[in-house]
């Protein structure tokens, strides 16, 4: 081999504490190194040209660059050597900046260490071989999981961009949390007026197929070629016939079904259309409360249905669909505030969540938009809002800020005053987090124009006091305890990962963080990508987000999917595992340990069992290589020999030199 070594000064970043010239000189003595030099900025245009020229002039067939971390510029240099006609895998990097020059000042030690790292890179490079990616076709269809505002945006953008879209929603209607809101901050826009048209677009777009009451059962395959199984729950109504006329819901005698859409503020019928603007506007039966399904008696809905769409025998249905990319937009759930026994654990009906309050404010809600407190239907005068219920609280394992509660609380305080002019709102807060456009002005308006009393402190306890609730908190700015006799207490319950997120993460091979929010590929630069190629995140499934951010991410995820599928063919990373068929004894252990199902058993011509890697599925982790006792399956670019070469470079084996 003819290896060239390039030592980067990175201005003074490296050269300040590493003697780059000596490193280059030492490197010239390393095995198979025929050219060694140092340069000021290797990653710059002239620096890259220098490498290309050296490759041509010195007939190099391998290059080592010692500079910054490969996580930064490995792709840059790989492209450079490729421009010079080398295979991009005939290149190695030694990280002498982050791992050497920036962490110690002793120039002698640093120079030694830098030389060691270069030697390791050289020894590894000597065992590299050219790797060529395979290309494969992509399916021009996107799966969007979750029909909240983020998913809706992603689906519409993808569909408008020419892709087929399959949207899967767990609930009966799309719309998500936003559909439950009355108004939105900071403009006090009507939530359903803004969202409604988009929901209709989803229903009417010719490129979008919508499955509600549906969840993801299984996902296999790989970027560009996923195969998805969707489970659609039985609704006991044939939706191809149902016109959404609502006669069944009027006549249903079983009126004690929990009203999920209204956040359990009241009850509804067993056969139900959750809200007037529901998409799809179809009825579904709640089997837990339908007397026909539970006891075999009733059948009223079947009798009154004008189109005969009721089917009490309907079963779950499995739908298979192939897609090229997946957008996850599963949203969030609310913290279970019953974990705070000091707030009554549900014993006091007039302690409600902020989302329940939205339903009380909403004209389509259970009270027709009149604020009536649950216990006695009276109009509250003193309304206390408690923020950070299940946010920024380590004792309930929710140390994070839920982000948008400050804003909706201010909105709710404003709306309270609008609805009940002689009311007084009290807001217990810790810090007001209002960093969006027009946000801080909005919270100021709540205080200045609408007279909301903001009290900085948490609330220690709520207890009944006659017909009211005594709220005892602190005013830390005044340095005292405060008490408010409240008619209604609204808890700004924090944001949690959606139920089932962890399980969905397993299905999609997207890692959830410790709180169940999906982890993005890079917190700054790849906010909607995941570590599974072809799977993108949108909205609050990645962490608490307000509506504009969720919509923005929906579009961003759509752009990623459109970009990916705009290519006719994709290339797979060739640094994947490869089986040496002659060494493989067919024990299949690697198949069992592969997290991606990327290895399958095959039978060779002699009828012997062997393992085979599906290159496009393999993610290149190397678990299999360690599993295989024969070393028959090797992760390309990180083979045993390549890593051992680095080990041996660092710790040369002590031979029986004394005998020679």
């Amino acid at each position: 081999m003819r290896i060239g070594v390039f030592i980067c000064h990175c201005g003074s970043n490296i050269a300040g504490t590493v003697d780059c010239e000596s490193v280059a000189e030492l490197a010239s003595g390393f095995p198979e190194v025929v050219y060694s030099t140092d340069s000021m900025y290797t990653c710059s245009e002239p620096g890259q040209e220098g490498i290309i020229t050296a490759i041509h002039e010195q007939k190099l067939d391998g290059v080592v660059v010692a500079s910054c971390t490969p996580r930064m510029h490995e792709p840059t240099f790989r492209r450079a050597v490729e421009r010079a006609g080398l295979n991009r895998y005939m290149f190695e990097m030694a990280n002498i900046r982050e791992h050497v020059s920036w962490i110690g000042k002793d120039k002698e030690h640093n120079t030694n260490k830098a030389a060691d790292l270069v030697l390791m890179a050289v020894e590894k490079l000597r065992r590299n071989r050219p790797l060529v990616p395979k290309s494969f076709e992509t399916i021009k269809r996107v799966l969007v999981i979750g029909g909240g505002v983020a998913g809706i945006q992603a689906a519409l953008d993808c569909a408008d961009g020419g892709l087929d879209v399959v949207m899967v929603e767990r609930d009966q209607s799309i719309g998500g949390k936003m559909a439950k809101l009355d108004k939105t901050f900071p403009t006090i826009d009507c939530s359903s007026c803004v969202l409604g048209p988009k929901m209709v677009d989803i229903a009417q777009h010719e490129k979008i197929t919508l499955h509600t009451c549906a969840e993801i059962e299984a996902v296999s395959g790989y970027v560009g070629n996923f195969s998805v199984t969707i489970r659609r729950r039985a609704t006991y109504v044939d939706w191809t016939k149902c016109t959404g006329c609502g006669v069944c819901t009027e006549k249903c005698p079983s009126k004690r079904s929990p009203d999920v859409f209204n956040e359990f503020m009241g009850t509804t019928t067993a056969i139900n259309i959750p809200f007037p603007q529901a998409i799809p506007k179809k009825a579904a039966i709640n089997p837990a409360t339908c007397t026909m399904i539970q006891k075999g008696k009733c059948g009223v809905c079947a009798k009154v249905c004008p189109v005969g769409c009721i089917d009490y025998e309907q079963q779950d249905e499995l739908i298979n669909v192939d897609v090229g990319a997946i957008v996850v937009a599963t949203g969030y759930d609310l913290f279970d505030w019953h974990k705070y026994p000091q707030y009554g654990e549900g014993r006091y009906p007039d302690v409600i969540t902020s989302l329940q309050y939205e339903r009380l404010l909403s004209a389509s809600g259970p009270t027709g938009g009149h604020i009536k407190r649950p216990s006695d239907g009276k109009e509250p005068k003193n309304v206390v809002f408690i923020q950070c219920v299940g946010s920024r609280d380590r004792s309930v394992d929710r140390p994070y800020c839920s982000g948008f509660c400050c804003m909706y609380t201010a909105k709710q305080a404003i709306l309270t005053k609008d609805h009940i002019p002689d009311s007084q709102s009290y807001v217990f807060y810790m810090d007001i987090r209002a960093p969006g456009k027009g946000y801080d002005e909005f919270t100021r308006r709540a205080m200045e124009e609408y007279g909301a009393q903001y009290v900085r402190g948490r609330v220690a306890m709520i207890y009944p006091h006659g017909e009211q609730l005594m709220v005892r908190g602190a005013d830390t700015l005044a340095g005292t305890q405060v008490e408010v006799p409240a008619d209604l207490v609204v808890l700004a319950t924090g944001v949690e990962a959606a139920q089932g997120a962890v399980k969905l993460g397993e299905t999609l091979r997207v890692v959830p963080d410790q709180y169940g929010f999906f982890v993005e590929s890079h917190p700054k630069l790849k906010p909607v990508e995941t570590n599974t190629a072809g799977v993108y995140l949108a909205g609050a499934c990645q962490g608490p987000k307000d509506i504009p951010t969720s919509v923005g991410q929906g579009s961003a995820a759509a752009a990623k999917a459109l970009g990916l599928l705009s290519k006719e063919r994709l290339e797979s990373d060739p640094a994947v595992s490869k089986v040496n068929l002659s060494r493989c004894v067919g024990c299949q252990k690697c198949i069992g340990t592969c997290p991606f199902g990327a290895i399958k058993a095959i039978t060779d011509r002699q009828g012997k069992l062997k393992a085979e890697v599906i290159e496009t599925v393999c993610q290149g982790c190397g678990i299999c290589t360690v599993t295989c006792p024969q070393g028959a399956i090797q992760l390309e670019h990180f083979t045993d020999n390549q890593i051992l070469a680095e080990v041996n470079a660092l710790c040369p084996p002590k031979m029986n030199a004394s005998f020679e």
Partner: protein, 183 residues
Amino acid sequence: MNIIDLTAADCDFQAEVASRSGQDLKTCYQCGNCTAGCPYTFAYDVPVSQIMRLIQAGQRETVLNSKSLWLCASCQSCTTRCPNSIDVAKVMDVCRHMARENGCVSERTSKLFTDAFLQSVEKHGRAFELGLMATYTMKSGRFFDNIALGPPALLHNKLSLKPHSIQGKEQVARIFERFRKGE
């Protein structure tokens, strides 16, 4: 009002409270939940959340001289509800220990009662309520605070007239003795 020079903060004080209480005081973010729940706030000169803040700010004198330390009954409201799981009652306890060691006693009667109680235990092995009340009243000179209790207490035989001395009372006395020696 005092102006605090932040650069002159007594960091040792903060560290000492932290190490003696075993609590990470830096995690207190001043949400006020301790003050919100504390039944004694009305009697305090410095609310408990501000005690926490003053410890963070290294204000040894203010903390150790506060009356609040002596008015905390260790009822555990603060500890129970702290979102950062700080044992606030223990922090108050530790500050009280330090106040005592430094001779800062801003609520004399509280301290006298404590002393009288422990003297009684040291002497008899168990608390002898009538005796300790007598000691306390003599030392505090507060003859009339609880005079109203006399009739109901006597009427219902509430107070035993004789101390219940135990056989092992020397053992108990030795606990105090060793403790003082060790101090």
